[in-house]
């Protein structure tokens, strides 16, 4: 550890940009070390083997060294099992990456976030329903960032009842809704939908719709003034899913 050396760490490349003449500057999500910056030396040389390995949305094992803000990639091993994303699933993949880059801090380990991301990438690659993959990811991310309340108990510690509507918003426990106007930045959701969301079950259209509205609210608060380029891209081909 004295040279800050890390071996064979599960990771995904979130973004790569050219660096110097022949290198790449990578933004990677790792399981144990969070999101870090790595330089892949020589990765842009025409015959570099890294070209076909350092791909986004591919499970990799990375080794690196260095203690500064930007480490140096040592090796990258292909884990395989996930076909390259293309078409709409690829656009959705960029959306996941943009959320991670904008909402997670560098060098802040979040093993659960890594798990949530890995599951979403596999979901996109396996032809699952895109909107349900996206909602599950958004909810998982908001939850691991400590921003989502429990969806199965209310503010009094009582279990959520399927037929009762609840008032739901960022950073606050669920409250039984008594009727009347809905406060800004909050949303009224039926108990049974909250229970489905708590269980990660997005098979019903109604759950996906309510979850989409709610996640917009949560992500909107987390993102503040930042806009999402991938959301705009998705909207420009009008396919964000239901």
């Amino acid at each position: 550890m004295s040279q800050g050396r890390v071996d064979r760490q599960p990771a995904y490349v979130l973004h790569a940009q050219p660096y110097r003449e022949t290198s790449l500057l990578l933004d990677v999500l790792t399981r144990e070390h969070g999101r870090i910056a790595l330089v892949a030396r020589g990765a842009r040389r025409p015959r570099s083997d890294l070209r076909g390995v350092l791909l986004p949305f591919q499970p990799l094992l990375l080794a690196w060294f260095g203690k500064s803000e930007v480490r140096t990639l040592h090796t990258a091993d292909w884990q395989g099992g996930v076909p390259q994303l293309s078409g709409l699933p690829l656009v959705c993949g960029f959306y996941l990456n943009e959320l991670l880059i904008k909402l997670t801090a560098r060098d802040d380990p979040h093993p659960e976030t890594f798990g949530v991301y890995a599951e979403a990438v596999r979901g996109l690659a396996s032809g699952g329903l895109l909107s349900s993959v996206l909602r599950r990811f958004e909810l998982g991310l908001v939850r691991t960032l400590g921003y989502a309340p429990a969806f199965d108990v209310d503010s009094n510690g009582r279990e959520v009842e399927p037929d009762v509507p609840y008032l739901c918003g960022p950073e606050q426990a669920l409250q039984r809704w008594q009727g009347g106007p809905v406060p800004a930045q909050q949303q009224v959701i039926e108990g049974r939908i909250l229970l489905a969301m708590a269980g990660g079950d997005f098979s019903e259209l109604a759950t996906r719709r309510e979850a989409r509205r709610l996640m917009r609210l949560f992500l909107g608060q987390l993102l503040g003034a930042q806009s999402l380029a991938t959301r705009e891209l998705l909207q420009s081909i009008s396919a964000l899913g239901d």
């Binding site: 110097r20 076909g52 395989g80 076909p83 293309s86 690829l90 656009v91 943009e98 891209l233 420009s236």
Partner: protein
């Protein structure tokens, strides 16, 4: 000790080049001024001339000194095929491969949402006008097989679908003459996922 202002200006001007940081910019500036003044003069004139004379071809969007570039002006090219590439260098490579006699459209970039490069930055509006001119029958998308090139291809395919055009994507797989033993894992894996039926 400070540099004279004109030297500092040259160094900071050289830093606009991709991959050139302060140290390389300083090295380049010293080289141009000390070792190769004639070269420096040629560079300055060539830059001036390029900026004054080059525009984008009104049909294919590549660099051209005339409203229509040489290639677009050639009547012998197949007018019904349009091949879309990211950069002029890609067009030149395709020409070198002597596999295609249709026309081109050069995007001058690729979509990269995370870098903030959107549809307007890669001339998709101009591409639409060109592809829907009534003469083009087939559009071949030859953007790179990077995640960004693939997103660009997807967007173009979405924009052009249901317009009565045949839209295709160049194939990816094993390099010609390539041996499995020497190919990288990503290429090999994708070649297997995208295998084609024989017979």
């Amino acid at each position: 000790m400070k540099n004279p202002p004109s030297l500092d200006q040259l160094i900071s001007a050289l830093k606009v080049l991709p991959g050139v940081g302060p140290k390389s910019a300083q090295r380049m500036a010293f080289h141009l001024l000390q070792r190769d003044q004639a070269g420096a003069d040629r560079l300055a004139r060539a830059l001036d001339r390029a900026l004054a004379n080059l525009t984008h071809c009104e049909r294919c969007n590549t660099f051209s000194e005339t409203p229509l570039c040489n290639l677009c002006a050639e009547p012998a090219r197949n007018q019904h095929q349009l091949c879309i590439v990211e950069m002029p260098a890609d067009l030149l490579m395709l020409e070198q491969a002597r596999c295609y006699d249709g026309l081109y459209f050069v995007l001058m970039g690729r979509l990269s949402p995370i870098d903030g490069i959107g549809p307007k930055d890669v001339n998709l509006d101009k591409l639409m006008v060109r592809a829907l001119d009534g003469v083009v029958e087939e559009v071949i998308i030859a953007t790179n097989f990077t995640a960004e090139g693939e997103v660009t291809a997807h967007m173009i395919a979405e924009l052009l679908k249901d317009r009565g055009l045949a839209v295709s994507r160049i194939a990816r797989g094993m390099p010609v003459g390539g041996e499995l033993e020497y190919v990288d894992s990503g290429t090999l894996a994708q070649a297997l996922y995208e295998r084609r039926q024989l017979g």
